[in-house]
Amino acid sequence: MLLELADVEVAYGAVTALRGIRLTVDAGEIVTLLGANGAGKTTTLRTISGLLRPRAGQVLLDGEPLSKIPAHQLVRRGVAHSPEGRRIFPAMSVRENLLMGAFHDRKHVARDLEHVFGLFPRLQERVSQAGGTLSGGEQQMLAIGRALMSRPRLLLLDEPSMGLAPLVVRTIFDVIAQINAEGVAVLLVEQNAAQALKIANRGYVLETGQVVLDGPSGDLLADDRVRQAYLGEDVAVPEHDLPHQLAK
């Protein structure tokens, strides 16, 4: 097992954001994390990448707890985080942004740049343009490309489809599938449940800091509550019918 969250609790001061999350990602899978605003998806990713520390429970990478490891060292261990809102370096060129992704290890820079440009030819066209002047879709490509420059085993993607046109979203998701096909495990946080479940192997549904549903994508796609709450379909679900761990 590549990544495991064992009963992770995270709090911002007095406000508890995660109430005991259990979650696993195996090597080579795509796992998606669904949920409404404020459910704790971004908090989960930030906890995994070490930007936040759990109040209780543990994050384990290759079975080893990460509690003492600072965020910047996690990159060395093969975890790359493409954060919410993309957060590219606005005044740096596309090229400089990508080089920052390879900050810890510059042995393979040339080859990795080529790889990223292969995935996103648009970035190559704009290689010397300032990151902040790219379009939203291009910035998202840059954020993913920057994360890939560290040669991750696990890629954490926080809402890559946010604010993008459907056509661009499709390009991004195609590339995510392609990255995964090259052997990189992906933990994908999304509000766009339909797209996410289409490429994911498994999924978790978060609500107010807890996993309320999990299972293979197919099962989640077929689940009435998921369809109603996240796919916007009109399905009658009784209010009280919310069993946990549906897919077991």
Binding site: V75, F103, G132
Partner: protein
Amino acid sequence: MSTTSATPATPSVAPTPPPSQPGGAAALGRAAAAALFSLAGLRQLGVCVLIGLTLALMTGPNGKAAEPLGAVRHAILAPRIVTYLIIAAVLWLLIALWPLARPLWSMGQAAARGPVTAVAQQRFAPLGLNLALLIVAIIMPMFFSNAAVTWMVDGVGIYALLALGLNVVIGYAGMLDLGYIAFFAIGAYTTAYFTSKTAISAHFPVSLNPFFVFPIAFVLAAVAGVLLGAPTLRLRGDYLAIVTLGFGEIIQLIANNSHWTNGPRGAFGVPHLSIHLLGINYSWKLDPKPYYYLLLAIIVLVMIAFGRLERSRIGRAWAAIREDEIAAEATGVPTLRLKLLAFAIGASVSGFAGVLFASKQFFNPQIFSLQASFLVVTIVIFGGMGNRLGVVVGSVVLQGLAFYLRDKVPATDRFIYFGAVVIVMMIFRPQGIVPSRRRKREISLAEHGVGHADSLGSAPTSESGAR
């Protein structure tokens, strides 16, 4: 709204026709009139008149206790004001018509209007220009009086060195340090402690040549920087500024109140720098010129070293921290350690400058006041954050102004004029006299609502506008 005031060159008129077109003269005249009498043009006129009035005040006579408004009356309500209004008008014409003249001047060059889109390849400052400036700096003392050269050492040179060090903290790593002069004090008192048995009450058993104190002060200041930085660098922006401000005050208070430092009396008789090596015996005495050249050599070396640092991997990591600290951490930049490094490097340069200063002249705790810290920050921002040449030029201009004003206005008033000059500068050229390319880009992008300018950049308009 902030964009027009920050870049007055942006014409608020309709696209100006290229002057080379047939019938260009008439069109040019119309465009000029439109530029002058647009809202932005009139606002520029207002600012220029204010500058003229300020100049009139600065050069006018002083007030007296019996006649508090005398200065205003004799400076402004006198015929001489006409001269200054003419200066203001000329300034206005230059500023308002500059956008029209620019296409002629920089034919074919992509004018940097609006957000910069293409990032030019890193270009090194032309070597020729740097050498020319160096030659000017070398021959300059020959044309000035001893008093002026003394000021070129104590005022301009020392502060240029301090600004170069603070530039690492502010310009490269993007942290606001308002207690920077404390490290200068540490360097100076370290010198007094190690080189003389009598300068201050506390002394080292053996008196060392001041040259040996350079490495000691360098290390001690860096250690002080790390000690201050380690617990506080998690803070950002205003909070860090407040903590460093407090640190500066603490150091000054200790210097002022401890009997080891001689309290407010300060340190007397720190030996001058001297070399006794391989039969060479030379010592820096009262003549300021040798100090000037020593300082010049050190400044050039520091500039070269920091230039390399800026373009190194560490320099790029600092830029990343400045632009987005969380993203930097997430891409594997050890942000805390690198911020600490910037702090330590800045501090050690300041300590270094302290040794030079102490070995040249008498000093007391008053020199290490809050005002001195602010002055260094002002020089860095005025000269151009992140640009080494810029901060040195900033020191030359601001401290040159101080020297010019020395006999003209009371010392206590000097900062009023400083303030006026800095405000004018921030209106017309917020990026500083010689801006760093990257910094300029960050400010320009932030003004157009892209990206986060750090605590020292312009306010990101998009974020404040969204609320």
